[in-house]
Symmetry: C2
Subunit: 157 residues, 2 copies
């Protein structure tokens, strides 16, 4: 499948929220009601206005088939280095197993290299064994424990 | 021990680099030579100029005893939410076991709450079992695998 990649725009939001909610874990924490929960619109504005955050879509012809968010972070560690953090990876449920995730993550790794990052990192829920195998197949090492402390659950603004 | 917390300034850099390098894993990837490697100065400027990144010091009276970096990240996930990512946690080697790390992380969690974050997250190297027990004792859950893909090793600019 031939894919192209671009930054998301505000008009993509309803489709993106649908994709985030159409997921075993995501459906517990996303709000797929219409009109769109204002918290999503606010979050999109914050992402879109920050040059170190990029909300990326994968398209096949005109159809959005996948998404992720990249965050570029400057650190003192590793002798002063940039890292690229990947989060919120989703592939259209109907189109899984066709290599879209592979192309999307490879594209993200290329962006990280072009932005002079030393490390690409992400965390993957231990409840997603297939995702864990997928990232290992791409060369990622599960060298770290991914700790989360939940302060509050989903916004319902 | 009574601690105070503040953002790091450029004059703190030599001490911070010494602290980052004075570590079993850090010594392999930091450059403690003088004059300071320019990559650290450049990284500090990038951190300091980004309101979503904060390099924080813990002080006991006038002595710097610990450090960490906070990154605040806006996400669409969890119904549009902010997360606080903690990285580069170090405590002065001579002062470990005195509860400094506990106070420092508790302070970071408080910052995350004040900045309306839903989640505080961090990754901890599986080669640091004592750190893993420490974060678990603070209520963090190792619910995720922490994946890293190293694109290049430390800068030697």
């Amino acid at each position: 499948m031939k894919l192209s990649f671009r930054q998301a725009t505000a008009t993509d939001l309803p489709l993106l929220i649908k994709m985030l909610a159409d997921d075993r874990l995501g459906k517990q924490r996303e709000d797929s009601s219409t009109p769109l929960n204002k918290a999503y619109i606010q979050a999109f504005k914050q992402i879109d206005s920050d040059p170190n955050n990029q909300l990326i879509l994968a398209q096949s012809e005109q159809q959005v088939v996948g998404m992720l968010q990249l965050t570029f972070i400057p650190y003192l560690t590793h002798t002063g280095s940039w890292r690229c953090l990947i989060e919120g990876v989703r592939i259209d449920r109907e189109l899984r197993g066709k290599g879209i995730g592979n192309q999307l993550i490879q594209w993200a790794i290329k962006q990280a290299r072009e932005n002079d990052c030393n490390i690409v990192q992400l965390t993957s829920d231990k409840q997603r064994p297939e995702a864990i195998s997928f990232y290992e197949s791409l060369g990622f090492k599960a060298s770290h424990e991914g700790f989360k402390l939940v302060l509050k659950t989903a916004n319902n603004a």
